[in-house]
């Protein structure tokens, strides 16, 4: 029996492995719950992801590996996660323009539905801070409707799932200190320089 098995195994080496695309069909059938792609930036490669409703994730891959980001999306949003760059074309273009200094705000829709409660309020308040402006953790807490929840505001910002587009880098510590930044404070400095908020 071994000879026939060897024949099959050898013949199988010549079977095609260049497989047809399934992503486009998944999109038309409404099964692409989370589309993601990788976007290059001066701060290293980013992974960006969107539901049909809007953006749900931007992540620095040197901070958190792509695999980990995708696992989180599978758990939090839907396990139907597929690499599908087309849905991310607009955010890719807007990020490119932002890093080239040709864009001051992001117009891509954001899917806020996976953020709850105070975190959502803090991040919405953060999204209103304009290009070149800065605020403080206390300021954002107040804008989110809870002026005393400064520490909670800091936590919400630390867990921002969409850095850059929700500009948590514009939130500093009171007294002018930079404060922390998910992905490294040198990125925060770079972005504030880019926006002219830091000289």
């Amino acid at each position: 029996m071994n000879d026939i098995e060897t024949t099959l195994r050898n013949a199988a080496l010549d079977l095609p492995t260049d497989t047809p695309d399934v992503t486009a069909r998944a999109e038309t059938e409404g099964l692409l719950d989370v589309a993601y792609t990788s976007v290059d930036s001066p701060l290293g490669p980013l992974v960006v992801a969107a539901t049909p409703q809007g953006l749900v994730r931007v992540s620095y891959t040197d901070f958190r590996g792509e695999d980990q980001v995708l696992e989180e999306l599978a758990r939090r949003v839907s396990p139907r996660v597929l690499e599908a760059p087309a849905r991310l074309d607009t955010v890719r273009r807007e990020l490119d323009e932002y890093f080239e200094g040709r864009r001051q705000g992001f117009d891509v829709p954001i899917d806020w539905s996976y953020l709850a409660g105070f975190t959502r309020e803090v991040l919405r308040a953060t999204a209103r801070i304009g290009f070149g402006e800065v605020s403080t953790y206390a300021g954002v807490a107040a804008d989110a409707g809870s002026p005393r929840a400064v520490r909670a505001a800091g936590n919400a910002l630390g867990a921002n799932p969409m850095p850059l587009v929700v500009p948590c880098h514009r939130v500093l510590r009171s007294g002018g200190k930079l404060g922390g930044y998910t992905g490294g404070v040198e990125k925060k400095e770079f972005l504030l320089h880019l926006e002219g908020a830091l000289l």
Binding site: A11, P16, P20, V22, A74, P79, L82, E83
Partner: protein
């Protein structure tokens, strides 16, 4: 329930699923069956209760699509006057004669032969795929290989 991102399944198993389909339904129907397999899998995926044995789960879906394709081909075999033209040439499948013999095996035997001989699948996994006992899985491999051997030595 912690299911991996669907893209991880696609990356890990797409080549095996495609080779299985080219071998068991032939190059002309393999592309359609491949898409049908993955779309069905994607549709059902969030309702899966276990993240184990995903390869057997995917190949069972692929086997069902291949059975559908064989049935459809049986219906198409009734003379219709004209032969439909193909838009593009089908991809090659290596050894057409050998795979044609595999395609002529009963469904469970062609699945068993491919998964065991080409993918090296353990009998326990093959039994899950075939929804049978391990003994039955073993018999399907044995009978399929025996028949292939006889036919190829004719």
């Amino acid at each position: 329930m912690k299911l991996p991102p669907f893209q991880a399944l696609l990356d890990e198993h797409r080549a095996d699923v495609y080779r299985f389909l080219v071998a068991t339904v032939g190059p002309s129907d393999a592309d359609d069956c491949f898409q049908e397999t993955w779309i069905s899998a994607l549709r059902a995926y969030p309702t899966l209760r276990r993240a184990e044995n995903l390869r057997a789960w995917l190949l069972r879906i692929a086997q069902n699509k291949s059975i559908d394709a064989h049935r459809a081909r049986g219906r198409r075999a009734i003379p219709v006057g004209t032969v439909p033209e193909r838009a593009s040439p089908s991809p090659p499948d290596g050894d057409p004669q050998l795979w044609a013999r595999v395609r002529d095996l009963p469904a469970k035997q062609r699945t068993a032969v491919f998964c065991r001989s080409v993918l090296g699948m353990p009998y326990a996994e093959l039994a899950l795929l075939l929804e049978s006992s391990e003994d039955a899985a073993r018999r399907n491999v044995h009978e399929g290989l025996k028949r292939l051997k006889e036919e190829l030595s004719e």
